[in-house]
Amino acid sequence: MTTKQSGTYFPAGVVEEFLPRIGRVVEIKDHQLAVFRASDGTIFAADNHTPHPKGGPLAEGIVSGHYLYDPLYDWKIDLTTGLVQAPDNGQVQMYPVKVENGQVWIEI
């Protein structure tokens, strides 16, 4: 996992601000994150850059369970680890998320 070591939690809004299975960009400091709310309610925060060498955003991908399909190149990414699934490979930087009283916190 490339989830980073402990940083600071930032409040990224309330859960309802994130539509189920539709990504939303959240900017915290100089980080641009793609935040997804899976249909089971889990919230994931990924670096909003595809690991594909040609680059591009991730936030517009199709979310299926805890997987994300990259919107530009259709790579399948495991949102729990950030790992790109075979036959492609690479890894997206994921950020820890916690939800308290409906408030979403992301650790940077």
Partner: protein, 809 residues
């Protein structure tokens, strides 16, 4: 074993050397492996350089084994290091900086070098070969600075280079010594068809031209030919052939002819030194393609590991050109001579050509152009020198009755025969993953073994192996699954949705037992479409199951900005609208305004958060440039202004566009309407093409100008405007109801058959009315998406706007 491993050294980090290593690793761990490579990269797929040049792939995409792979197997890799010779006395290899490394065994796999014509001026700046990444980079750079290029050599490599440079925006002339292109693989007929096709794609040719000198100062400025004519260019790619790279072998005093001479077990004249790939010469032949080198590598690996193996007896090679839209294939012997019996069929209208050569009634070679569906079959038959029979003839040449029945000859194929030449995957490996891992589709096999991943030429054989191994279960379930999440085909799914009244994608997936509960990027949009097609009134469109462009109602670009395309009915606009478009473009700092091929304006580079504002200020309907829906209706000037026009094409185009816009279809859909048979709006490449004539209109369907170009078929003629609209509606609805998601009408027409479609929408008046009623019903439920987004600004903000967190933890 006594613990001490043997030192195996590979000279050359290319496709042959590393594929041999891969085979060895499967058989033994008794070697300490060291690899030397001149190039500064890990092993990459050289075949795919053509795609790197063309811009569709990057170096990273074509790396076969990354550095981790070498590490994982404990292989020592020296990149950027050239071996100069082998010292057989001390049992060491010597590198250019004098380093010596001891060996027990060596494999030389140094490939070949581009052959550069030794004409005066060949060493000028701006002259390159096409062999490696470095050459590719020079070409990519040159295309940024210079305009005119020449490619010397009209073989496979030269043509792929030329196409790549054209794609990069250069003006390219292919200079070829012979009168025929690819004369080493094609016969004159196929070659002429190839040339015509490539000319259509923008490549120029100078045939029968002997280069005598490259002109210019430091940098090349032109080519002078033997007849003293001059071609002005500022960049030259030499693709006239390859020279086996035998430098190491020569320095080491080994037997070298054109290539390094080897026996049937790839042994060279030096003890414990082997050679594979393009640098070798086996039974007098040097190969320049990957399939033979995989075959050689496999035999060598077994031999070196002490596993019993049949000797290498040479390869039958096949060629496929990797240029989209140009299907050519050749295998075995291809030039007819008196000893051959020739079966050929040339069709200038369909632009296809097929030739099979027989010697003593055995198949020994074939050439295909335009339609290469039989390539895999022919390749096998020819490899096995199959005897021609009435039955085979019937199935290959399509005559007689009984149709195109395919016999499975994969059955007789040897286990270790390579099926995918690009990636060195054998029949055995494929059979293995099907039987032991339960794979049931080509996609799964691709993910697991890499077969079909590169040029795709092997796909038909992989399919046949699947079919052969799975037997009946193949046709009943496996094959038609619309994606990896289900084994059900489109028709089954649609039938289940109708029968069980399923409402949402989730429901479909639950009820029909999807392997991934929320589906994937292939099935989710498809199911969402089928649901909407079946119940236009009640289906609630699932934004989260739509591809980004359709969800945002604008086209995403690679930098994450969007392109906005307002509707311009029939391609007609007004000065006032143009002014508004200009004002909005200036205000929102649009990066480019482009006229599209479908007669509209692209406003490129709008930020996501500005989308709703841009739409509101344009105050025009969405052009649906992103949608699986009616895109444009291209029109000519027609009778309103054109001196030839007999019908008002502009008005009819606008009418059709207004009538059918916004409706979801299986794939994008384009129209053209012409005022007369001169066809200025190019009806032949549209899903529906309409041509006006004196007494009414003629309707064409199934045209496509995209990846797989297809000319539209004439469906029927109608007398009145009303009849025209009704037929268009019936065609579209029939396509909506029977098309596979993402299937263009060009494929749909071929799958359903023109006659069948005609019998439903043209001949059967009742059915036509019913189809029309259903499309009218669906049309009642469409809504303008931009207006909807603007109205619902608040709800939509979650979709269009990001969240900015101030640094307040």
């Amino acid at each position: 074993m006594n613990g001490k491993k043997e030192n195996l050294i590979i000279i050359g980090n290319g496709m042959a050397g590393i594929s041999t290593v891969e085979q060895i690793l499967k058989l033994t761990t008794r070697f300490d492996i060291t690899v030397f490579g001149t190039e500064p990269y890990p092993n990459y797929n050289r075949i795919m350089l053509s795609y790197v040049l063309e811009g569709s792939k990057t170096l990273d995409d074509i790396v076969l084994n990354d550095l981790h792979w070498y590490e994982d197997y404990g292989i020592t890799l020296h990149t950027g290091t050239t071996v100069t010779r082998i010292d057989a006395e001390t049992h060491e290899v010597v590198t250019e900086d004098g380093t010596r490394v001891p060996y027990d065994k060596i494999i030389i796999a140094t490939g070949s070098n581009s052959f550069i014509l030794p004409v005066p001026g060949h060493d000028k700046e701006g002259v390159v070969g096409f062999r490696d990444i470095a050459d590719c980079n020079v070409m990519l750079e040159a295309a940024k600075q210079y305009k005119r290029a020449a490619v010397i050599g009209g073989g496979l490599l030269g043509l792929e280079a030329a196409k790549g440079l054209v794609q990069l925006g250069m003006e390219v002339t292919v200079v070829h010594l012979m009168e025929d292109l690819m004369e080493r693989q094609l016969d004159p007929q196929a070659s002429a068809m190839l040339k015509a096709e490539l000319e259509r794609q923008g490549i120029r040719f100078k045939m029968g031209a002997q280069t005598s000198e490259l002109l210019g100062g430091e940098r090349v400025e032109g080519i002078r030919f033997a007849d003293d004519t001059v071609l002005n260019v500022d960049f030259v790619v030499m693709a006239v052939g390859i020279k086996p790279n035998t430098a190491v072998a020569r320095e080491s005093g080994m037997e070298v002819n054109r290539g390094i001479v080897v026996n049937d077990y790839m042994q060279t004249s030096l003890e414990n030194v082997y050679s594979v790939g393009e640098c070798t010469e086996h039974r007098g032949v040097c190969y320049g393609l990957v399939a033979p080198l995989f075959e050689q590598g496999m035999i060598l690996a077994k031999h070196i590991c002490g596993v019993e193996t049949a000797p290498y007896e040479g390869s039958v090679v096949s060629t496929k050109l990797k240029i989209s839209g140009v299907d050519v294939f050749s295998t075995g012997e291809f030039i007819d001579s008196p000893e051959h019996t020739v079966i050929s069929h040339k069709d200038d209208w369909k632009r296809t050509y097929k030739k099979i050569l027989l010697r003593d009634n055995k198949m020994v070679g074939a050439v295909l152009f335009g339609d290469i569906t039989d390539s895999a079959e022919l390749q096998k038959l020819i490899k096995q020198q199959t005897e021609m029979t009435e039955e085979l003839y019937g199935s290959l040449m399509g005559t007689g009755c009984g149709g195109h029945k395919k016999t499975t000859s994969v059955e007789t194929m040897a286990e270790d025969e390579i099926v995918c030449g690009c990636n060195g995957v054998t029949k055995g490996t494929i059979v293995d993953v099907i039987t032991n891992q339960g794979l049931t589709s080509v996609d799964e096999i691709k993910a697991c073994t890499g077969a079909t991943r590169s040029c795709g030429g092997c796909k038909p054989v992989v399919e046949q192996i699947l079919q052969y191994v799975l037997g009946d279960s193949f046709s009943t379930g496996a094959k038609q699954g619309i994606c990896g999440c289900t084994s059900m085909g489109r028709d089954e799914i649609v039938a289940e949705i109708r029968a069980n009244g399923l409402q949402t994608t989730k429901e479909v997936m639950n009820v029909l037992g999807w392997s991934q509960p929320e589906g994937c990027s292939k099935c989710r949009p498809a199911i969402n479409y089928y649901l909407g097609m079946i119940a236009p009134d009640t289906h609630e469109d699932e934004k989260e199951s739509r591809f980004v462009n359709e969800r945002m109602n604008a086209n995403i670009q690679k930098d994450g900005t969007y392109t906005v395309v307002p509707r311009m009915y029939g391609g007609v606009t007004t000065p006032a609208d143009l002014k508004r478009i200009a004002d909005v473009s200036v205000k929102y700092d649009v990066k480019a305004v482009k006229v599209t091929g479908g007669q509209r304006l692209d406003l490129i580079g709008v930020k996501k958060e500005d989308l709703t504002k841009v739409w509101a200020e344009l105050d025009m309907p969405s052009g649906y440039a992103y949608a699986k829906s009616l895109r444009t209706v291209k029109t000519c000037v027609g009778s309103q202004f054109c001196r030839f026009g007999t019908q008002d094409s502009m008005a009819m185009g606008a009418r059709i566009e207004r009538k059918f816009e916004r409706l979801d279809l299986p794939a994008k859909f384009k129209y053209a309407v012409n005022g007369c048979p001169r066809n200025c709006a190019e009806a032949c490449t549209k899903d529906i093409g309409i041509v006006g004539n004196d007494g009414g209109w003629e309707i064409f369907i199934g045209g496509n100008g995209g990846i797989k170009a297809r000319l539209a078929d004439s469906l029927c003629k109608v007398k009145t405007d009303e009849e025209l609209i009704e037929l268009c509606g019936a065609i579209m609805q029939y396509y909506r109801e029977t098309g596979n998601y993402l299937e263009r009408t060009s494929e749909w027409v071929e799958r359903m058959g023109l006659e069948h479609i005609r019998s439903v929408v043209v001949d059967n008046l009742e059915e036509r009315k019913a189809l029309m009623q259903r499309i009218e019903f669906a049309l009642e439920h469409v809504e303008e998406p931009w207006q909807k987004a603007i109205r619902n600004e608040e709800g939509q903000s979650k979709m269009f706007h990001g969240i900015e967190v101030s640094a307040r933890p």
